[in-house]
Protein backbone atom coordinates (compact mmCIF):
# COMPACT_ATOMS: atom_id res chain seq x y z
CA UNK A 1 0.00 0.00 0.00
CA UNK A 2 2.78 2.38 0.95
CA UNK A 3 4.61 1.19 -2.15
CA UNK A 4 1.79 2.25 -4.49
CA UNK A 5 1.41 5.62 -2.79
CA UNK A 6 5.12 6.29 -3.11
CA UNK A 7 5.10 5.31 -6.76
CA UNK A 8 2.20 7.60 -7.59
CA UNK A 9 3.48 10.56 -5.55
CA UNK A 10 7.12 10.62 -6.62
CA UNK A 11 8.70 10.27 -10.04
CA UNK A 12 12.02 8.52 -10.48
CA UNK A 13 11.81 6.56 -7.25
CA UNK A 14 13.03 2.94 -7.25
CA UNK A 15 11.45 0.61 -4.71
CA UNK A 16 12.85 -2.77 -3.77
CA UNK A 17 11.77 -5.16 -1.05
CA UNK A 18 14.01 -8.21 -1.15
CA UNK A 19 14.49 -8.92 2.52
CA UNK A 20 11.95 -9.35 5.26
CA UNK A 21 10.41 -6.07 6.51
CA UNK A 22 13.07 -3.99 4.80
CA UNK A 23 11.92 -1.50 2.18
CA UNK A 24 14.68 0.06 0.09
CA UNK A 25 13.94 3.32 -1.68
CA UNK A 26 16.36 5.09 -4.02
CA UNK A 27 15.75 8.56 -5.33
CA UNK A 28 17.70 11.36 -6.96
CA UNK A 29 19.25 13.79 -4.56
CA UNK A 30 16.63 16.55 -4.83
CA UNK A 31 13.88 14.20 -3.71
CA UNK A 32 15.04 13.15 -0.25
CA UNK A 33 13.50 15.94 1.82
CA UNK A 34 10.07 15.62 0.23
CA UNK A 35 10.09 11.82 0.69
CA UNK A 36 11.24 12.24 4.30
CA UNK A 37 8.44 14.67 5.11
CA UNK A 38 5.94 12.47 3.23
CA UNK A 39 6.97 9.45 5.31
CA UNK A 40 6.94 11.46 8.52
CA UNK A 41 3.37 12.57 7.85
CA UNK A 42 2.47 8.94 7.18
CA UNK A 43 3.56 8.07 10.73
CA UNK A 44 7.12 6.88 10.12
CA UNK A 45 8.38 9.20 12.82
CA UNK A 46 11.47 7.42 14.13
CA UNK A 47 14.76 8.23 12.40
CA UNK A 48 17.12 5.45 13.43
CA UNK A 49 20.30 6.55 11.77
CA UNK A 50 21.80 8.43 8.86
CA UNK A 51 24.60 6.44 7.35
CA UNK A 52 27.01 7.04 4.54
CA UNK A 53 28.69 4.57 2.18
CA UNK A 54 31.65 5.46 0.01
CA UNK A 55 31.24 3.85 -3.43
CA UNK A 56 34.69 4.77 -4.63
CA UNK A 57 34.44 2.96 -7.98
CA UNK A 58 31.35 4.98 -8.92
CA UNK A 59 32.94 8.16 -7.50
CA UNK A 60 29.85 8.66 -5.37
CA UNK A 61 28.84 8.84 -1.73
CA UNK A 62 25.58 7.25 -0.75
CA UNK A 63 23.54 8.75 2.06
CA UNK A 64 21.19 6.30 3.75
CA UNK A 65 18.32 7.48 5.94
CA UNK A 66 16.84 4.64 7.95
CA UNK A 67 13.47 5.20 9.54
CA UNK A 68 10.45 3.36 10.82
CA UNK A 69 7.36 3.98 12.89
CA UNK A 70 7.69 4.00 16.66
CA UNK A 71 4.53 1.97 16.90
CA UNK A 72 3.01 0.28 13.91
CA UNK A 73 -0.42 1.21 15.26
CA UNK A 74 0.51 4.83 14.40
CA UNK A 75 0.45 3.93 10.71
CA UNK A 76 -3.01 3.07 9.35
CA UNK A 77 -3.05 -0.18 7.43
CA UNK A 78 0.39 -1.24 8.58
CA UNK A 79 0.57 -4.93 9.40
CA UNK A 80 4.27 -5.48 9.91
CA UNK A 81 7.06 -3.36 11.31
CA UNK A 82 8.76 -1.84 8.27
CA UNK A 83 12.30 -0.52 8.25
CA UNK A 84 12.65 1.98 5.44
CA UNK A 85 16.06 2.56 3.88
CA UNK A 86 15.95 5.79 1.91
CA UNK A 87 19.01 6.23 -0.25
CA UNK A 88 20.49 8.86 -2.48
CA UNK A 89 23.85 9.36 -4.13
CA UNK A 90 25.88 12.53 -4.30
CA UNK A 91 29.15 13.34 -6.01
CA UNK A 92 32.30 12.38 -4.19
CA UNK A 93 34.25 15.54 -4.96
CA UNK A 94 33.24 18.47 -2.76
CA UNK A 95 30.03 16.79 -1.55
CA UNK A 96 27.27 19.06 -0.32
CA UNK A 97 23.83 18.27 0.95
CA UNK A 98 21.05 19.89 2.96
CA UNK A 99 20.35 19.19 6.59
CA UNK A 100 17.25 17.37 7.77
CA UNK A 101 17.29 18.71 11.34
CA UNK A 102 14.08 20.68 10.79
CA UNK A 103 12.23 17.40 10.15
CA UNK A 104 14.12 15.14 12.55
CA UNK A 105 16.11 16.81 15.36
CA UNK A 106 17.67 13.39 15.97
CA UNK A 107 19.66 13.86 12.76
CA UNK A 108 22.00 16.42 14.30
CA UNK A 109 24.83 14.20 15.60
CA UNK A 110 24.61 11.82 12.64
CA UNK A 111 25.11 14.62 10.14
CA UNK A 112 27.94 15.96 12.24
CA UNK A 113 29.62 12.57 12.16
CA UNK A 114 29.18 12.17 8.40
CA UNK A 115 30.67 15.63 7.92
CA UNK A 116 33.67 14.59 9.97
CA UNK A 117 34.16 11.08 8.62
CA UNK A 118 33.16 11.51 4.97
CA UNK A 119 33.53 15.23 4.43
CA UNK A 120 29.93 15.91 3.42
CA UNK A 121 28.86 19.52 4.03
CA UNK A 122 25.31 19.74 5.33
CA UNK A 123 24.03 23.21 4.48
CA UNK A 124 22.01 24.77 7.27
CA UNK A 125 23.45 22.57 10.01
CA UNK A 126 24.04 24.76 13.11
CA UNK A 127 27.32 23.19 14.26
CA UNK A 128 29.47 21.12 11.97
CA UNK A 129 32.30 21.04 14.51
CA UNK A 130 34.43 17.90 15.00
CA UNK A 131 32.59 15.28 17.00
CA UNK A 132 34.88 12.33 17.64
CA UNK A 133 38.32 13.12 16.20
CA UNK A 134 40.97 15.51 17.40
CA UNK A 135 43.49 15.59 14.56
CA UNK A 136 43.19 17.05 11.11
CA UNK A 137 43.15 14.66 8.21
CA UNK A 138 43.82 15.34 4.54
CA UNK A 139 41.27 12.73 3.49
CA UNK A 140 38.19 12.25 5.69
CA UNK A 141 39.12 9.03 7.51
CA UNK A 142 36.12 6.83 6.72
CA UNK A 143 36.51 7.21 2.97
CA UNK A 144 37.78 4.15 1.18
CA UNK A 145 40.95 5.82 -0.07
CA UNK A 146 42.10 6.60 3.48
CA UNK A 147 44.63 3.89 4.30
CA UNK A 148 44.62 3.24 8.05
CA UNK A 149 47.89 1.31 8.00
CA UNK A 150 49.69 3.93 5.92
CA UNK A 151 48.44 6.68 8.22
CA UNK A 152 49.64 4.89 11.35
CA UNK A 153 53.06 4.26 9.79
CA UNK A 154 53.39 7.90 8.73
CA UNK A 155 52.29 9.40 12.03
CA UNK A 156 53.56 6.94 14.61
CA UNK A 157 56.00 4.85 12.57
CA UNK A 158 59.11 6.80 13.55
CA UNK A 159 58.87 5.64 17.16
CA UNK A 160 61.30 2.70 17.43
CA UNK A 161 59.81 -0.44 18.93
CA UNK A 162 61.12 -1.77 22.23
CA UNK A 163 61.90 -5.16 20.70
CA UNK A 164 63.91 -3.55 17.91
CA UNK A 165 66.11 -1.77 20.43
CA UNK A 166 66.90 -5.01 22.22
CA UNK A 167 68.11 -6.65 19.03
CA UNK A 168 70.52 -3.83 18.34
Amino acid sequence: MLKQELETTFDNITIRMEKKNQLELSITKDGIMSVLSFLKNKGYDHLHVISCVDWIDDKQLELVYILSAYMKQDVPGETEQLNILLKTRIGRDDPKYITSIALFPAAEPYEREIHEMFGVDFLGHPRLTPLLLERDYDIPPFRKDFDTKQYVDDVFGSVPSVEGEDKN
Binding site: E18, K19, K20, N21, Q22, E24, D45, H46, L47, H48, V49, S51, V53, D54, V64, I66, Y70, M71, K72, Q81, N83, L85, F104, P105, A106, E108, P109, P130, L131, L132, L133, E134, P141, F142, K144, F146, T148
Partner: protein, 365 residues
Protein backbone atom coordinates in the same frame (compact mmCIF):
# COMPACT_ATOMS: atom_id res chain seq x y z
CA UNK B 1 25.14 36.89 37.72
CA UNK B 2 28.30 36.08 35.78
CA UNK B 3 28.28 33.25 33.24
CA UNK B 4 31.04 30.71 33.48
CA UNK B 5 32.19 27.83 31.34
CA UNK B 6 32.59 24.64 33.33
CA UNK B 7 34.32 21.50 32.10
CA UNK B 8 32.72 18.39 33.50
CA UNK B 9 34.66 15.17 32.97
CA UNK B 10 36.28 13.08 31.53
CA UNK B 11 37.79 12.46 34.96
CA UNK B 12 35.01 13.12 37.39
CA UNK B 13 33.38 11.20 40.21
CA UNK B 14 29.95 11.61 38.69
CA UNK B 15 31.09 10.26 35.33
CA UNK B 16 31.50 6.63 34.48
CA UNK B 17 33.49 6.19 31.34
CA UNK B 18 35.41 8.62 29.22
CA UNK B 19 33.04 11.34 28.22
CA UNK B 20 32.94 15.00 28.99
CA UNK B 21 30.55 17.91 28.99
CA UNK B 22 31.08 21.62 28.58
CA UNK B 23 28.53 23.49 30.65
CA UNK B 24 27.58 27.15 30.47
CA UNK B 25 26.59 27.94 34.05
CA UNK B 26 25.19 30.87 35.91
CA UNK B 27 25.52 30.25 39.64
CA UNK B 28 24.74 26.56 39.84
CA UNK B 29 22.15 26.60 37.08
CA UNK B 30 23.08 25.17 33.70
CA UNK B 31 22.20 27.38 30.76
CA UNK B 32 23.59 25.26 27.98
CA UNK B 33 25.41 21.98 27.76
CA UNK B 34 27.42 20.48 24.96
CA UNK B 35 28.69 16.93 24.94
CA UNK B 36 32.24 16.04 23.90
CA UNK B 37 32.54 12.40 22.99
CA UNK B 38 35.54 10.88 21.23
CA UNK B 39 37.81 9.86 24.09
CA UNK B 40 37.20 6.23 23.22
CA UNK B 41 36.99 6.44 19.46
CA UNK B 42 38.76 3.39 18.08
CA UNK B 43 37.45 3.51 14.54
CA UNK B 44 35.97 0.02 14.76
CA UNK B 45 33.65 0.52 11.82
CA UNK B 46 36.59 1.40 9.61
CA UNK B 47 38.74 -1.46 10.91
CA UNK B 48 35.91 -3.91 10.28
CA UNK B 49 36.15 -3.18 6.56
CA UNK B 50 39.58 -4.83 6.51
CA UNK B 51 38.74 -7.99 8.44
CA UNK B 52 36.86 -11.09 7.38
CA UNK B 53 33.29 -11.68 8.51
CA UNK B 54 34.24 -13.96 11.37
CA UNK B 55 37.32 -12.01 12.47
CA UNK B 56 35.18 -9.01 13.31
CA UNK B 57 33.71 -10.56 16.44
CA UNK B 58 36.44 -9.54 18.90
CA UNK B 59 35.99 -5.94 17.77
CA UNK B 60 32.22 -5.91 17.66
CA UNK B 61 31.83 -7.02 21.26
CA UNK B 62 34.14 -4.25 22.47
CA UNK B 63 31.82 -1.55 21.22
CA UNK B 64 29.72 -1.83 24.34
CA UNK B 65 32.04 -2.78 27.15
CA UNK B 66 29.32 -3.39 29.70
CA UNK B 67 27.01 -5.55 27.63
CA UNK B 68 28.97 -7.09 24.75
CA UNK B 69 26.43 -9.83 24.13
CA UNK B 70 23.83 -7.75 22.37
CA UNK B 71 26.62 -6.52 20.10
CA UNK B 72 27.51 -10.10 19.17
CA UNK B 73 23.83 -10.74 18.63
CA UNK B 74 23.26 -7.78 16.33
CA UNK B 75 26.33 -8.59 14.26
CA UNK B 76 25.29 -12.23 13.95
CA UNK B 77 21.80 -11.15 12.96
CA UNK B 78 23.23 -8.86 10.31
CA UNK B 79 25.45 -11.56 8.85
CA UNK B 80 22.60 -14.07 8.96
CA UNK B 81 20.27 -11.69 7.17
CA UNK B 82 22.84 -10.91 4.48
CA UNK B 83 23.87 -14.51 3.93
CA UNK B 84 20.44 -16.04 4.48
CA UNK B 85 21.48 -18.40 7.29
CA UNK B 86 18.84 -20.12 9.39
CA UNK B 87 19.23 -20.68 13.12
CA UNK B 88 18.01 -23.84 14.91
CA UNK B 89 15.13 -23.45 17.35
CA UNK B 90 17.16 -24.47 20.39
CA UNK B 91 19.81 -21.88 19.54
CA UNK B 92 17.08 -19.21 19.50
CA UNK B 93 16.15 -20.15 23.06
CA UNK B 94 19.75 -20.31 24.23
CA UNK B 95 20.40 -16.91 22.66
CA UNK B 96 17.41 -15.39 24.44
CA UNK B 97 18.40 -16.85 27.80
CA UNK B 98 21.98 -15.71 27.30
CA UNK B 99 20.92 -12.20 26.31
CA UNK B 100 18.54 -11.89 29.26
CA UNK B 101 21.31 -12.96 31.63
CA UNK B 102 23.49 -10.31 30.03
CA UNK B 103 20.70 -7.77 30.51
CA UNK B 104 20.48 -8.58 34.21
CA UNK B 105 24.26 -8.28 34.52
CA UNK B 106 24.31 -5.02 32.63
CA UNK B 107 21.45 -3.52 34.65
CA UNK B 108 23.21 -4.49 37.87
CA UNK B 109 26.28 -2.67 36.59
CA UNK B 110 24.11 0.32 35.75
CA UNK B 111 22.59 0.18 39.22
CA UNK B 112 26.10 0.11 40.68
CA UNK B 113 27.01 3.24 38.73
CA UNK B 114 23.82 5.06 39.62
CA UNK B 115 23.78 4.12 43.31
CA UNK B 116 27.46 4.94 43.64
CA UNK B 117 26.90 8.36 42.12
CA UNK B 118 24.05 9.09 44.55
CA UNK B 119 26.16 7.96 47.50
CA UNK B 120 24.42 4.64 48.18
CA UNK B 121 27.68 2.75 48.43
CA UNK B 122 26.22 -0.33 50.11
CA UNK B 123 23.68 -0.92 47.37
CA UNK B 124 26.39 -0.34 44.78
CA UNK B 125 28.56 -3.05 46.34
CA UNK B 126 25.63 -5.49 46.42
CA UNK B 127 24.90 -4.85 42.77
CA UNK B 128 28.54 -5.39 41.82
CA UNK B 129 28.61 -8.65 43.80
CA UNK B 130 25.44 -9.91 42.15
CA UNK B 131 26.77 -8.97 38.72
CA UNK B 132 29.80 -11.08 39.52
CA UNK B 133 27.56 -14.07 40.13
CA UNK B 134 26.14 -13.63 36.63
CA UNK B 135 29.66 -13.33 35.23
CA UNK B 136 30.52 -16.64 36.92
CA UNK B 137 27.74 -18.24 34.89
CA UNK B 138 29.20 -16.74 31.70
CA UNK B 139 32.65 -17.97 32.64
CA UNK B 140 31.41 -21.51 32.99
CA UNK B 141 29.49 -21.37 29.73
CA UNK B 142 31.96 -19.55 27.49
CA UNK B 143 35.32 -19.35 29.23
CA UNK B 144 35.25 -15.56 29.33
CA UNK B 145 33.88 -13.30 32.01
CA UNK B 146 33.24 -10.07 30.14
CA UNK B 147 33.71 -10.76 26.42
CA UNK B 148 32.20 -14.06 25.40
CA UNK B 149 31.89 -14.35 21.60
CA UNK B 150 29.34 -17.05 22.29
CA UNK B 151 26.70 -16.06 19.75
CA UNK B 152 27.85 -16.34 16.17
CA UNK B 153 26.27 -16.72 12.73
CA UNK B 154 24.26 -19.91 12.54
CA UNK B 155 23.57 -20.30 16.26
CA UNK B 156 25.68 -20.40 19.39
CA UNK B 157 29.13 -21.87 19.89
CA UNK B 158 28.18 -24.76 22.15
CA UNK B 159 25.29 -26.19 24.07
CA UNK B 160 24.69 -25.69 27.80
CA UNK B 161 26.93 -27.99 29.85
CA UNK B 162 25.36 -30.56 32.11
CA UNK B 163 23.60 -29.10 35.14
CA UNK B 164 23.90 -25.57 33.79
CA UNK B 165 20.15 -24.97 33.85
CA UNK B 166 20.08 -25.62 37.60
CA UNK B 167 22.99 -23.27 38.10
CA UNK B 168 21.16 -20.48 36.28
CA UNK B 169 18.07 -21.04 38.43
CA UNK B 170 20.12 -21.12 41.63
CA UNK B 171 22.01 -17.93 40.81
CA UNK B 172 18.87 -16.09 39.83
CA UNK B 173 17.15 -17.18 43.04
CA UNK B 174 20.12 -15.86 45.02
CA UNK B 175 19.87 -12.49 43.28
CA UNK B 176 16.07 -12.43 43.36
CA UNK B 177 16.06 -13.17 47.07
CA UNK B 178 17.77 -9.83 47.65
CA UNK B 179 15.15 -7.75 45.84
CA UNK B 180 13.39 -6.86 49.16
CA UNK B 181 16.73 -5.64 50.50
CA UNK B 182 17.34 -3.53 47.39
CA UNK B 183 13.82 -2.13 47.67
CA UNK B 184 13.99 -1.17 51.31
CA UNK B 185 17.50 0.27 51.09
CA UNK B 186 17.38 1.97 47.75
CA UNK B 187 14.26 1.97 45.58
CA UNK B 188 11.82 2.87 48.35
CA UNK B 189 14.31 5.12 50.06
CA UNK B 190 13.13 8.70 50.55
CA UNK B 191 16.60 10.01 49.66
CA UNK B 192 16.49 8.38 46.26
CA UNK B 193 13.01 9.81 45.71
CA UNK B 194 14.05 13.32 46.71
CA UNK B 195 17.15 13.25 44.52
CA UNK B 196 15.62 11.70 41.41
CA UNK B 197 11.97 12.71 41.27
CA UNK B 198 11.29 15.43 38.66
CA UNK B 199 14.97 15.51 37.71
CA UNK B 200 15.97 15.26 34.06
CA UNK B 201 12.44 15.21 32.75
CA UNK B 202 12.01 14.22 29.11
CA UNK B 203 8.50 14.35 27.70
CA UNK B 204 7.28 11.78 25.22
CA UNK B 205 7.17 14.26 22.33
CA UNK B 206 10.73 15.37 23.04
CA UNK B 207 11.96 11.81 23.36
CA UNK B 208 10.33 10.82 20.08
CA UNK B 209 11.72 13.67 18.05
CA UNK B 210 15.22 13.22 19.44
CA UNK B 211 15.31 9.50 18.75
CA UNK B 212 14.92 8.33 22.34
CA UNK B 213 14.61 4.58 22.83
CA UNK B 214 14.81 2.13 25.69
CA UNK B 215 14.18 3.33 29.23
CA UNK B 216 13.98 6.94 28.06
CA UNK B 217 10.87 6.33 26.00
CA UNK B 218 9.42 3.62 28.23
CA UNK B 219 9.56 6.08 31.15
CA UNK B 220 7.12 8.27 29.21
CA UNK B 221 4.51 5.54 28.96
CA UNK B 222 5.24 4.09 25.53
CA UNK B 223 5.79 0.33 25.52
CA UNK B 224 8.46 0.52 22.83
CA UNK B 225 10.65 -2.54 23.02
CA UNK B 226 12.16 -4.22 19.95
CA UNK B 227 11.67 -7.60 21.57
CA UNK B 228 7.93 -6.93 21.21
CA UNK B 229 7.88 -4.64 18.17
CA UNK B 230 10.02 -6.79 15.90
CA UNK B 231 10.57 -10.08 17.76
CA UNK B 232 13.83 -11.93 17.20
CA UNK B 233 15.41 -15.01 18.85
CA UNK B 234 12.76 -16.68 21.06
CA UNK B 235 11.11 -13.60 22.52
CA UNK B 236 7.75 -14.29 20.87
CA UNK B 237 7.60 -17.85 22.23
CA UNK B 238 6.84 -16.93 25.85
CA UNK B 239 4.54 -14.31 27.39
CA UNK B 240 6.13 -11.33 29.11
CA UNK B 241 5.41 -7.67 29.79
CA UNK B 242 7.15 -4.40 28.98
CA UNK B 243 7.47 -2.32 32.17
CA UNK B 244 6.52 1.31 31.62
CA UNK B 245 5.98 4.40 33.75
CA UNK B 246 4.48 7.77 33.00
CA UNK B 247 6.61 10.50 34.59
CA UNK B 248 9.63 10.57 32.29
CA UNK B 249 12.09 11.58 35.02
CA UNK B 250 15.23 9.97 36.44
CA UNK B 251 13.23 8.26 39.19
CA UNK B 252 10.98 6.41 36.75
CA UNK B 253 13.87 5.48 34.46
CA UNK B 254 15.73 3.77 37.30
CA UNK B 255 12.55 2.06 38.45
CA UNK B 256 12.11 0.70 34.94
CA UNK B 257 15.62 -0.73 35.12
CA UNK B 258 14.61 -2.54 38.31
CA UNK B 259 11.35 -3.84 36.84
CA UNK B 260 13.10 -5.00 33.69
CA UNK B 261 15.57 -7.06 35.68
CA UNK B 262 12.70 -8.83 37.44
CA UNK B 263 10.86 -9.33 34.14
CA UNK B 264 14.04 -10.76 32.57
CA UNK B 265 14.48 -13.23 35.39
CA UNK B 266 10.89 -14.43 35.01
CA UNK B 267 11.40 -14.67 31.27
CA UNK B 268 14.52 -16.81 31.72
CA UNK B 269 12.55 -19.26 33.89
CA UNK B 270 9.82 -19.52 31.23
CA UNK B 271 12.36 -19.95 28.44
CA UNK B 272 14.19 -22.66 30.37
CA UNK B 273 10.92 -24.56 30.73
CA UNK B 274 10.00 -24.27 27.07
CA UNK B 275 13.45 -24.94 25.64
CA UNK B 276 13.36 -27.68 22.99
CA UNK B 277 16.05 -30.28 22.34
CA UNK B 278 18.10 -30.29 19.17
CA UNK B 279 21.31 -28.95 17.73
CA UNK B 280 22.49 -25.44 18.52
CA UNK B 281 24.45 -24.63 15.44
CA UNK B 282 23.96 -24.72 11.68
CA UNK B 283 27.22 -25.10 9.84
CA UNK B 284 28.46 -22.03 8.02
CA UNK B 285 30.90 -22.18 5.07
CA UNK B 286 34.62 -22.19 5.76
CA UNK B 287 35.11 -18.84 7.51
CA UNK B 288 38.46 -18.19 5.81
CA UNK B 289 36.95 -18.42 2.33
CA UNK B 290 33.52 -17.12 3.20
CA UNK B 291 32.05 -14.65 0.73
CA UNK B 292 28.67 -13.14 1.42
CA UNK B 293 26.42 -12.18 -1.50
CA UNK B 294 26.05 -8.56 -2.46
CA UNK B 295 23.34 -6.70 -0.62
CA UNK B 296 22.52 -4.64 2.39
CA UNK B 297 20.74 -5.34 5.63
CA UNK B 298 19.38 -3.33 8.52
CA UNK B 299 18.73 -5.31 11.67
CA UNK B 300 17.85 -4.24 15.17
CA UNK B 301 17.59 -5.75 18.61
CA UNK B 302 16.96 -4.51 22.14
CA UNK B 303 20.12 -4.07 24.15
CA UNK B 304 19.89 -3.24 27.84
CA UNK B 305 20.01 0.46 26.92
CA UNK B 306 17.44 0.40 24.17
CA UNK B 307 17.18 -0.18 20.49
CA UNK B 308 20.41 -1.23 18.84
CA UNK B 309 20.69 -1.21 15.06
CA UNK B 310 23.22 -2.32 12.51
CA UNK B 311 23.34 -1.23 8.89
CA UNK B 312 25.66 -3.49 6.95
CA UNK B 313 26.59 -3.53 3.28
CA UNK B 314 28.31 -6.36 1.46
CA UNK B 315 29.83 -6.04 -1.99
CA UNK B 316 30.17 -9.79 -2.35
CA UNK B 317 33.59 -9.88 -0.76
CA UNK B 318 35.29 -11.48 2.19
CA UNK B 319 34.84 -8.43 4.40
CA UNK B 320 31.93 -6.11 5.13
CA UNK B 321 31.95 -3.16 2.73
CA UNK B 322 30.46 -0.91 5.39
CA UNK B 323 29.07 -1.45 8.86
CA UNK B 324 27.36 1.26 10.87
CA UNK B 325 26.07 0.70 14.38
CA UNK B 326 23.11 2.67 15.63
CA UNK B 327 23.67 2.59 19.37
CA UNK B 328 21.12 3.79 21.91
CA UNK B 329 23.66 5.88 23.85
CA UNK B 330 24.40 7.87 20.71
CA UNK B 331 21.09 9.72 20.66
CA UNK B 332 20.70 9.62 24.45
CA UNK B 333 24.17 10.94 25.20
CA UNK B 334 24.37 13.58 22.49
CA UNK B 335 20.87 14.90 21.84
CA UNK B 336 18.66 13.94 24.77
CA UNK B 337 21.33 14.65 27.40
CA UNK B 338 22.07 18.14 26.08
CA UNK B 339 18.36 18.93 26.12
CA UNK B 340 17.72 17.44 29.56
CA UNK B 341 20.60 19.36 31.12
CA UNK B 342 19.28 22.78 30.10
CA UNK B 343 18.03 24.51 33.22
CA UNK B 344 19.19 21.72 35.53
CA UNK B 345 21.38 22.10 38.60
CA UNK B 346 25.11 21.29 38.48
CA UNK B 347 24.67 18.72 41.25
CA UNK B 348 22.23 16.80 39.05
CA UNK B 349 24.51 16.36 36.02
CA UNK B 350 25.73 12.92 37.05
CA UNK B 351 22.25 11.98 38.12
CA UNK B 352 20.70 12.85 34.77
CA UNK B 353 23.48 11.26 32.77
CA UNK B 354 23.42 7.98 34.70
CA UNK B 355 19.67 7.80 34.58
CA UNK B 356 19.82 8.17 30.79
CA UNK B 357 22.12 5.17 31.00
CA UNK B 358 24.82 6.60 28.73
CA UNK B 359 27.81 4.37 28.01
CA UNK B 360 30.66 6.28 26.39
CA UNK B 361 32.29 3.51 24.27
CA UNK B 362 28.96 2.98 22.55
CA UNK B 363 28.88 6.59 21.37
CA UNK B 364 32.42 6.66 20.04
CA UNK B 365 32.66 3.16 18.58
Amino acid sequence: MRELELYYGPQHLGMVGNFSLTLQVEGDKILKASANPGYLHRGFEKLMEKRSWIKNFPMVCRINVIEPDSMEMIYSMGVEKLAGIEVPERAHFIRSIFLELARVGSHLFGLWAYANMLGFDTVAQWAMYHRDLVLDLFEELTGGRVYHIYIWPGGVRRDFPEGFKDKIVKTLHTIGGCVPDYDSTFFNNRLFYERACNVGKVSRAEAMEMGGVGQVIRATGMAYDIRKVEPYAAYDRVPWNVPTRKEGDAFSRIWIVRDEMIESVHMIFKLLDEMPEGNVYNRIPNPFKWRIPEGEAYVRCESSRGELGLYMVSDGGKEPYRAHFRTPSYSHGLTVLEKALEGANISDVGNIMMSLYVVAPEIDR
